[in-house]
């Protein structure tokens, strides 16, 4: 038999409900008490409906405002918490829980993940073992090294070059398919030998984190920090997805409540969040020298907080509220993890190969028409100003076509011993901050409008080189990584 449960809230809310109920004159499908509660929770649809039906709602708005003054948290959060307490009370009377050892340890771990101190320690551990050790050292180091050196450089590329140069008499066609910038020798090599193993390792770690239920806990953990930059824990969704692909994450930013938050997150994604391949390649490049990696992480975190804080001060509007129900922490299931990793790799390969081929064709076209040389000549002085050699201009140009394509180019350059660690940190930082790739830029135009997207693009272009310049001057002055 079902029983109707009337939740009794605290005195302030009950008094406010009684006052609002008295003021309501029209008929509603829901009870007047429910309408009053929804008004107190600032439900936009109900507020709109009451505005239409009632003659004057000034008194109601005053009651809501007066009630709000009694709490330091939003009213919808207070109502939600009181309701949850009521449910827990009923639950404790009818459910008996058997506490076994594994459940106890999971519940302990659960409380640690959201604790400001222990949660931060756990986050550092997840990043260290998941990203640094597994993606950076194993995926991007051991696996890429094996595929690149032992398979592509030894067998595949020489074979393709020999066959193409022997059977195709036209130089321009030979260069399109093989040699230095060919579709097969550059585009496919970047996609299969460099980017795919790194992205595969990243997706495996990401799937484990996702399947364990850690992401919502991360939202709760960073909520306070994100509030300093005008965002809240909900922004973890596009942020985390941005570490996979920033284009997809820009699209997801529409789930944020206010326009201010959406603009903020779009800028931070375009400026400071590297995509999976870029992150993996940077991890691989810098993990040989922990100090270099530490400088890159600290610099990016500083830029993220600094730009976020400044932008939140410049953009008008209030920060949005955030609370969510946290699902239980669970042991990741192997079948789920493998299936998710495969699904992501499949999606990535299907998307990346045509784009890498297209980028190779564009580069080939740029080379034979001489357009690339002109663009590179413009970029060279800027790149030199931040202490990097001419060859890096090409990496920045590639990076605009596709972020990971640029990162793979940087990886290639490091392998040939062209850069020292100081230059590598400056290049990695500037490339991370540099203008988003074509796909992300197109998404920014679609989501935020052409004016905002172009303004962001122009700001990012200038800011990335300015930040790279400052970093280079600081490292040179203090003799770090000399």
């Amino acid at each position: 038999m079902s029983t109707l449960h009337n939740v009794t809230y605290d005195d302030h809310i009950e008094v406010a409900i009684a006052k609002i109920v008295k003021t309501l004159e029209s008929e509603y499908v829901l009870s007047n008490r429910s309408i009053a509660l929804l008004l107190l929770q600032e439900d936009p649809d109900v507020t709109e409906m009451v505005k239409d039906k009632e003659k004057d709602i000034t008194e109601i708005l005053t009651i809501i405002e007066d009630t709000r003054k009694n709490y330091d948290k939003p009213l919808n959060y207070i109502v939600g918490t009181l309701r949850q307490r009521h449910v827990e009370n009923i639950n404790s009377k009818v459910v008996t829980k058997r506490n076994n050892a594994s459940e106890m340890s999971i519940s302990k771990l659960d409380s640690f993940t959201m604790h400001p101190f222990w949660g931060s320690i756990m986050l550092v551990m997840v990043l260290y073992f998941g990203l640094y050790k597994f993606v950076g050292q194993f995926g991007a180091g051991t696996v890429v090294d094996f595929i690149e050196t032992n398979i592509f450089a030894e067998y595949i590329n020489p074979f393709i070059n020999n066959v193409i140069n022997a059977h195709i008499p036209w130089g321009w066609l030979q260069d399109l398919i093989a040699n230095d910038y060919g579709i097969l020798t550059l585009g496919f090599r970047y996609a299969i030998a460099i980017v795919l193993p790194i992205v595969g390792a990243f997706f495996l770690v990401f799937s484990i984190i996702e399947d364990s239920g850690y992401l919502p806990r991360l939202s709760m953990l960073v909520d306070r920090l994100f509030k300093c930059i005008g965002l809240n824990g909900r922004a973890v969704i596009p942020m985390v997805l941005g570490f996979g692909c920033d284009t997809m994450a820009t699209m997801v930013s529409r789930t944020l409540e206010t326009k201010r938050e959406r603009v903020l997150i779009t800028l931070l994604l375009a400026l400071t969040i590297p995509c999976s391949a870029q992150l993996g390649v940077i991890m691989a490049l810098l993990s040989e020298e922990p100090l270099a990696l530490l400088i890159w992480v600290a610099f990016m975190a500083f830029i993220f907080l600094f730009i976020g804080y400044l932008t939140s001060k410049v953009l008008p509007g209030e920060g949005a509220k955030f609370y969510m129900e946290v699902p239980p922490l669970r042991m990741p299931k192997l079948s789920n993890v493998l299936s998710k990793t495969y699904t992501r790799m499949h999606w990535y390969l299907v998307e990346i190969i045509p784009l890498f081929v297209f980028a190779s064709v564009l580069i080939w076209l740029g080379n034979i028409t001489g357009l690339f040389d002109v663009l590179l000549k413009w970029l060279n002085p800027v790149v030199n100003a931040i202490g990097l050699p001419d060859e890096l201009s090409q990496v920045f140009l590639f990076g605009f076509f596709r972020r990971d394509y640029g990162a793979a180019g940087l990886f290639d350059m490091r392998q040939s011993g062209l850069l020292n660690y100081r230059q590598l940190v400056v290049a990695a930082s500037t490339l991370t901050l540099f203008v988003p790739c074509v796909a992300q830029f197109a998404m920014m135009i679609k989501e935020r409008g052409a004016k905002t997207a172009f303004a962001m693009g122009a700001f990012i272009f200038v800011f990335s080189f300015a930040a790279g310049y400052v970093l280079n001057v600081m490292l040179t002055t203090f003799g770090v990584l000399a």
Partner: protein
């Protein structure tokens, strides 16, 4: 189907109906949780086939 982020359970088929109005729905392999907006990738056909096959074998052995 369960959202990987918030744990919200929803009917995949119901959600796909709402995707039909999108011009990119045919080529798109993503779904968005109706509760939190987290993007979930649709399982590729190979995985679905593999799951079907494993289930069949599981039933036979019982």
């Amino acid at each position: 189907m369960k959202c990987n982020y918030c744990g919200f359970e929803f009917d995949e088929q119901e959600l796909l109906k709402s995707c039909k109005s999108c011009p990119m729905s045919k080529a798109c392999n993503k779904m968005k949780c109706p509760n939190c907006g987290y993007q979930i990738l649709k399982e590729p056909k190979t995985i679905l086939l593999l799951k079907k096959w494993v289930n069949k074998i599981g039933f036979r052995s019982k």
